[in-house]
């Protein structure tokens, strides 16, 4: 918190939260999927701002790198490879519009009901100074097995994506 003490942190949080929510709603409701992907990128940039407020600077940078730099670009490639972008006549939502909305509102109401009744720890402990150092140490000591499994998972995802994306030649 020390570096951004000069900012009005609650105000910044409210603005980031409102904008992230706006872009999240846009990216699930816009008709054009390309615009949805761009709104998703904006939402992840704003969410990384929230991570900075939470003193998670490493994760904020990694979020922008992975999501905005890789995942959204991959989605844009998939969008331009599959369909003509503006298909105004085609329905974009299925028949579950009203039941899905009700289910989401019910889930949100349940989550908020629990959230507002649990006595969370009010005070905030001192912030960790060097998050990159500690995250790296934790990754390679306490969570070493999960780290190795994640690398195997990424390799499997790489091979699987190449295999699935390859044009299959029929005999």
């Amino acid at each position: 918190m020390s570096d951004i003490e000069f900012l009005n942190a609650p105000l910044v949080f409210k603005m980031l939260a409102a904008l992230a929510l706006l872009f999240a709603v846009l990216s699930v409701t816009l008709r054009n999927v390309f615009h949805c992907a761009l709104a998703l990128a904006a939402m992840f940039i704003l969410l990384s701002g929230v991570f900075v407020l939470l003193d998670a600077d490493f994760l904020a940078v990694v979020q922008v790198l992975i999501y905005v730099g890789a995942v959204v670009i991959l989605m844009i490639f998939a969008i331009v490879l599959t369909e003509k972008i503006t298909s105004e006549t085609v329905r974009q939502t299925n028949q579950l519009l009203v039941p899905g909305f009700l289910v989401c509102v019910a889930t949100l109401a349940g989550a908020l009901y629990v959230l507002t009744r649990v006595p969370w720890p009010s005070g905030s402990p001192a912030a960790q100074k060097e998050t990159i150092k500690l995250v790296g140490t934790q990754l390679l000591s306490t969570h070493l097995e999960a780290f190795e499994v994640a690398s195997v998972l990424l390799l499997a995802a790489l091979v699987g994506a190449v295999f699935l994306g390859k044009e299959i030649t029929r005999r």
């Binding site: 969410l47 407020l53 992975i66 989605m75 402990p125």
Partner: protein
């Protein structure tokens, strides 16, 4: 200082928005976009807990790194699947993907 509950409320709202997208979108790429929103909301919760509950180990941030890893792999494989299905069915709509049924 922003209390922990505000971050958790933001995470819950983002999760609900993503869930709405997953339930109502027809476009399979749109469904993947909504799933990424849900995973981002979960990451926000993990980071908030690691900031407010247990700062000495940063376990929440390490978990968030793993969630991002899985999300990246899931996006790569999911989009490759959508491309393969598009080649077979010429559609990206999830309700047209009935090739596994017989």
């Amino acid at each position: 200082m922003i209390p922990l509950a505000h971050y958790l409320i933001l995470g819950a709202v983002l999760f609900a928005v993503g869930m709405f997208g997953v339930l109502t979108r027809r476009n399979a790429i749109g469904i993947l976009i909504s799933i990424e929103i849900m995973l981002g909301a979960v990451n926000l919760n993990l980071v908030a807990f690691s900031r407010f509950v247990e700062t000495s180990t940063l376990n929440g941030q390490v978990f968030a790194v793993f969630v991002m890893t899985v999300a990246a792999g899931e996006a790569a494989v999911g989009l490759a699947l959508i491309l393969a299905l598009y080649r077979n069915t010429r559609a990206v709509f999830a309700d047209r993907f009935n090739v596994l049924k017989w």
